[in-house]
Amino acid sequence: MKRTQIDNSKMDPSSIDRILAAEEELIPSSGFLGTVMESVCEEARMPAPIAFPWKRAIPGILLAAGVFGWGGFELTRQAIPAVRELALTQPHLSLAIERPLEQAGWVTLALASSLASWMLSRRLAGRSGLL
């Protein structure tokens, strides 16, 4: 039923179709071509965008990922026994909380080294004029 309706409308355009098809053509204004070409030439004159310096960035990214991975691993490794102690021995509760806090230094160190590697990679890119 629906198909018939669609095909009929294609075969015999309705008044609405005839009205919409009888649209008059607009002629672009005389300055249109010039305006478009001006914009195009302006873009053509602009220097090509600088590609991201992947070659320089990859070692930094790998280092940062390694530091984060190692930090996460260490944190988990230290935290698991601490959690076990916390669960098993109520009297040692304060110690169990204390131990992971001692590891906070390592976490800070990991974060600091990743920050340093990020800054170093930025500085290297800056020196080469890429940033």
């Binding site: 309705s14 071509l33 070409m37």
Partner: protein, 201 residues
Amino acid sequence: MRETTSSAKEDLADVAQVLGGDANAFEGIVRRWQGPLVNMAWRYCRDRGRAEEMAQEAFLRAWRGLANWRRESSFSTWLFALAANVFRSELRRFPTVNLPLDEVPEPTGPSTQHESLSKKQNYEVVRRAVLALPLRYREPVVLFHFHEMDVSAAARTMGLPEGTLKARLSRARALLRRRFPHLNEESTDTEIAVLNTGKEA
């Protein structure tokens, strides 16, 4: 329809020159396609100034993305599809101010003194009513009539299967007929021919 073999060859030659670094060769493309693109944009917004702005943006996007044309389809198909995307997103950002379809005024009866003018105005009401349709029905109507009622060309421009486009067209027609029920009896080819004689005026 708008594309002939010679224009397709010219497009290919100009694209090759542009990709070879000659930005001025793009002028040939703009010269050939400015009319169709401005008219297409006009049908989307019915505002001459805005239509030219949107067409200009479409040409700029074409310029930037010329290397992405894979020659699987004709240049015109690629250009129209790109332009439709540009117009669609422009109208999403800044929609045209339109009355809801139910509030579009009913065309008035023809006056005896200015019958032709009155019909022209009434037909413009119907054309503007298309802009009040929901976007999913509006765009097929706009592109179907822009492509001179060629379903496959409109479907290619929208990137839709022909069946989906036909179904949306059918629904759009039903919505418009519901709004303007008398049009089915009123308009004839002769009346439209009369209207078209005043195009150049």
